[in-house]
């Protein structure tokens, strides 16, 4: 990687995989909040529990609907019967919380001792009468956000495959609605339907906060596209219908297993598009969906231009600045593409795992954006090596490093600006509406610097301190 070279296509590299990221079991933190009637049981050791307890911060005090099934020595050596043990715990959960689904999160330990969670679940499910979904979100195979991917892939198999008998159901519902609203509701429904173009059902997948779900749904509604359902829904009992031939579209770049499951197992058609992150990504996402349904998008030019206009104060801060992604949450390519469009130069895109098929459209858009902006094409480093990356950071002196908390403070002490990458996972970053929020995060260290400049406190480690 030398600065003089100007590569003509995206350059993919793969390093040692010695990097810092969150364990994929962290997905329970946002999924239990998203799926309101769920209970997540992480079957692992004290190590897993310690991670969750500390990573979830204050959430842990809010009586979360998650718990550890902490394995003891007797479980490891099979002196205890795993079926009986799980049954005991799941009955306790049923008694205390009465959830609509229990999600078992398999961990490294259950992999190594080869606990047959997928085999035990259906048996126990019929015995206790609560659906049990198994997701193997472990650190042997996956990184951070990929945890959600494993859970959603498992959920995809639980989506009903036929809409409940359409006519009677609808009449019945309308009858009740009529009673309650004196017929008003019916008008609304009829009116609603006419607003949409005639297109095959579309189901979106990816867990997003409810406000963002509303925003993206409205965005498509403006184009006359109806979102038939969302995986996951607010409740497990409201999982969307997935019939053969339905169209599906992913909203996050880390959902490749879910996409595969939807295509292969549920025979859905995947709309491969860039992800709706940043106004450019959102527009490309909408355009792609429209083009698949043969709809001519309307008003997108003005809408995108208007959003960019609203970002101008932030853009002035970052234009011409360089950014280095160390890589830990798989949002990196989409964020990099957006930041190039904002006028930044991306020096390196570290990423835990790169699915070139699922992210194909996003990669093409990245390449196109770089060319249009006259920005050099960045290297995409899969399974990065944090130590090597630090050496490159010292050499390249980026204006901003997007990295995990393990490296953020030490880099700041060496005069290098950082933004904590995990915030991008929890902040609202999708759609036109939230483009400002992304830049709010990206520019925060730069704005901080503007406030503190001239104090002479850039480097706060002694020269002789070793790195």
């Amino acid at each position: 990687m030398t600065a003089t070279q100007e590569p003509s296509a995206l350059n993919f590299e793969c390093e040692t995989g010695n990097y810092h990221t969150f364990c994929p079991i962290s997905c329970v933190a946002w999924l239990y909040q998203k799926i309101e009637d769920s209970f997540f049981l992480v079957i692992g050791t004290k190590t897993c529990g310690y991670f969750l307890q500390n990573a979830m911060g204050v959430m842990i005090f809010a009586e979360p609907r998650y718990a550890m099934a902490e394995l003891e020595e007797g479980d490891i050596s099979a002196q205890l019967n795993d079926y009986e043990e799980l049954k005991r715990l799941c009955l306790q959960i049923k008694r205390d919380r009465n959830p609509s689904v229990i999600v078992w999160i398999g961990t490294c330990t259950t992999e190594i001792i080869k606990t047959d969670l997928e085999g035990l679940a259906p048996k126990l499910e019929s015995e206790i009468g609560i659906p049990i979904v198994v997701a193997r979100a472990n650190g042997l195979d996956y990184a951070f956000t990929q945890g959600e991917d494993t859970v959603l892939a498992a959920m995809a198999n639980r989506c009903p495959d036929k809409s409940p008998v359409a006519e009677t159901e609808k009449n019945e519902r309308n009858a009740i609605a009529k009673l309650l609203n004196f017929g008003k509701k019916k008008e609304e429904v009829a009116q609603d339907e006419s607003e949409y173009a005639d297109h095959p059902p579309l189901v979106l997948f990816g867990s997003l906060p409810d406000p963002v779900v509303t925003q993206l749904t409205l965005e498509l509604k403006r184009q006359g596209i109806k979102v038939s359902g969302w995986l996951p829904a607010k409740r497990f009992t409201e999982l969307p219908v997935l019939e053969e031939g339905y169209y599906v579209s992913g909203v996050n770049p880390f959902l490749s297993r879910t996409a595969t499951t939807l295509m292969r197992r549920r025979k859905c058609k995947l709309i491969g598009s860039p992800f709706p992150i940043g106004p450019d990504g959102t527009r490309a996402w909408i355009e792609k969906i429209c083009s698949v349904f043969g709809i001519t998008p309307k008003g997108l030019d003005e809408r995108e231009a208007q959003i960019w206009e609203g970002l101008e104060d932030y853009l002035q801060l970052i234009r011409g600045k360089s950014v280095f992604f160390m890589g830990d949450n798989l949002l990196e390519v989409s964020l990099a593409r957006f930041l190039v469009r904002c006028g930044m130069t991306v020096q390196e895109i570290g990423i835990p795992y790169m699915d070139k098929r699922y992210q194909a459209a996003e990669l093409i858009l990245l390449e196109k954006t770089c060319k249009e902006m006259g920005s050099p094409l960045p290297s995409i480093v899969e399974k990065p090596d944090n130590y090597n990356q630090l050496q490159r950071i010292y050499e390249l002196k980026p204006d901003l490093v997007i990295t995990g908390m393990a490296h953020a403070n030490p880099l700041e002490a060496r005069g290098i600006n950082t933004k904590w990458s995990v915030e991008f996972t929890f902040a609202q970053i999708h759609g036109f509406t939230n483009a400002r929020d992304i830049l709010e995060l990206v520019t925060r260290p730069l704005r901080r610097n503007n406030n503190l400049k001239d104090l002479g406190w850039d480097k706060l480690v002694r020269e002789d301190a070793k790195v």
């Binding site: 490891i76 030490p410 706060l460």
Partner: protein
């Protein structure tokens, strides 16, 4: 299997990493899957550490499961040796490597041939020990390793230091107020005319360890960390250990008297009584505080105490013996060392509680309804739910328990800090009660009402529903901005689309 939501002490490898990364120039390599290096995040965040945490992972992935680690661990050790030139690399097993049962000893021996640094395997079993026990064991292991190494090379010093001197043992990274305690203890030793021979492990080099036998005695202020190392040193060199935690006025005096006795037995002729008297009556404010009217008001008030052995025991004694507070129960999560705790606190509280179950603790707090709680962050949150103030006295802790200001718990300055902590906890509770009696705060709801009442705007059902999804602490602001936006543009109704249009427009 057991259902667990919360744990007081972490897994074993955390203890090993705490000790290893407390030393200067010691690197730990974890044999663990991706994501188990969360220790680095904690150290970087909680301690606000400026340097990179010297911990890396030799990643266990599918290939390792299939074929074993083979060269991987050895390569990672030799690579780290070349990159960072540490004095020692500690190979750290985790729960994963415990079950894989790879021959980590063998990796250590092989890498020792190639690496120029020392390499050792932390001897801790994930399923038998917790964080605290593992830290204690690892410290002893490192001390023993370097003592034996020095002995082999004939580098152990002859005899004792000229003046009385001490090894302060047990201060470590991520320990509760450990840095401040350590500074306070060094000051105390200086006041007593005792040289500090070494401080282990925080900030020490492994090469300091061979100097340890020169000390006249060891001071191990923490019950959880250091006693294995001191008993090793006592067995090898007959170095006596003072293991009285100098926390609180009475215990500090007891600790100093023990030091006096130990060094006088070795030929020093010191009398610290005058010093203790001076400090107790005029330097520390805590003794005077216990006589003052403020403290009189606390007499007989109910409190409960929960934490690790060191802090919960010391706190219980301070509350009961030095402030006249009624400790209804005192508890510890150090189950493995429960007898010691019982013996320490039995006469100072009505009941002793030994448990690792935070639910049982919460219930016990609710049952007793104390005026104040002294516990960990978990008890602080129980207190919040029950409207009972809580002073945090032990790990597990959050970033606010790593204060930038000087806040020791030990020594004479520590007694002042504890008095403040106790007094502030109780008065806060009193203020709350008074507010309640006289009608409470009156600002709730009023702000939003005032604004919406005066506006001609109508929130539609979907708009209102969406507004209610916004977290409470920013909802008022979002509502005001949206209404301003709607008013400026002449919208009569605010629905969900107007709400988001407002968000998109600058300044709204």
């Amino acid at each position: 299997m057991k259902l667990a939501y919360w744990m007081y002490a972490g897994p074993a490898h955390i203890g090993t990493l705490r000790v290893a990364s407390s030393f200067k120039n010691v690197h730990a390599i974890m044999h663990a899957p991706l994501g188990d290096d969360y220790f680095n995040v904690m150290r970087s965040m909680l301690e606000r550490e400026r340097n990179f945490t010297p911990v890396t992972t030799s990643v266990v992935d599918r290939n390792v499961l299939a074929r074993g680690s083979q060269e991987k661990v050895v390569d990672n050790i030799t690579r780290k040796d070349a990159e960072e030139h540490p004095d020692l690399i500690v190979l750290t097993p985790t729960c994963t490597s415990s079950i894989l049962q790879e021959d980590l000893h063998n990796f250590v021996e092989r890498s020792q041939l190639e690496a120029s640094c020392d390499v050792m395997l932390a001897d801790v079993n994930h399923y038998r020990f917790n964080e605290l026990q593992a830290a204690d064991r690892t410290l002893q292991q490192i001390v023993q390793y370097y003592i034996e190494k020095a002995r082999k090379k004939g580098e152990l010093p002859e005899g004792k230091s000229e003046k009385p001197s001490v090894n302060i043992i047990g201060s470590s990274t991520l320990g509760f107020h450990n840095h401040h305690d350590c500074t306070e203890l060094k000051r105390l030793m200086a006041d007593l005319g005792i040289e500090v021979n070494t401080v282990i492990p925080e900030g020490a080099s492994v090469y300091d360890i061979k100097k340890m036998p020169r000390a006249w005695f060891n001071l191990a202020p923490y019950r959880e960390l250091g006693l294995m190392a001191t008993s090793y040193l006592e067995a090898e060199f007959g170095i006596p250990c003072v293991d009285i935690t100098p926390m609180g006025v009475v215990e500090t005096a007891r600790c100093i008297r023990k030091i006096q006795q130990v060094i006088n037995a070795q030929g020093a002729e010191v009398d610290y009584e005058e010093f203790i008297n001076e400090q107790t009556l005029y330097v520390s404010q805590a003794a005077w505080f216990s006589r003052s009217i403020d403290c009189q008001n606390l007499t007989g008030k109910k409190a409960v105490v929960f934490g690790d052995n060191t802090h919960a025991a010391a706190m219980t004694k301070i509350l009961a013996r030095e402030m006249g507070i009624h400790v209804v129960w005192a508890g510890t999560y150090c189950k493995y060392d429960a007898d010691w705790f019982r013996e320490q606190v039995s006469e100072y509280c009505d009941e002793v509680l030994i448990t690792e179950d935070h639910g049982a603790i919460g219930d016990a707090i609710a049952r007793v309804e104390p005026s104040a709680i002294f516990g960990t962050q978990m008890e602080r949150h129980v207190g919040k739910r029950l409207d009972i103030p809580c002073g945090v006295i032990a790990a597990p802790i959050h970033i606010q328990n790593f204060p930038l200001g000087y806040k020791p718990f030990m020594g004479y300055e520590g007694t002042n800090q504890i008095a403040d902590l106790v007094y502030n906890s109780f008065t806060l509770g009193m203020e709350d009660h008074l507010l309640e009696i006289f009608g409470g705060h009156d600002t709730k709801e009023v702000i939003t009402k005032g604004i919406s009442a005066g506006s001609d705007l109508n929130w539609t059902k979907d708009g209102l529903a969406e507004l209610n999804k916004i977290p409470g602490f920013v909802r008022g602001k979002v509502k005001r901005n949206t209404e301003k936006f709607a008013r400026d543009r002449g919208f009569k109704d605010i629905n969900v689309e107007v709400l988001y249009a407002a968000k998109e427009s600058v300044g709204a």
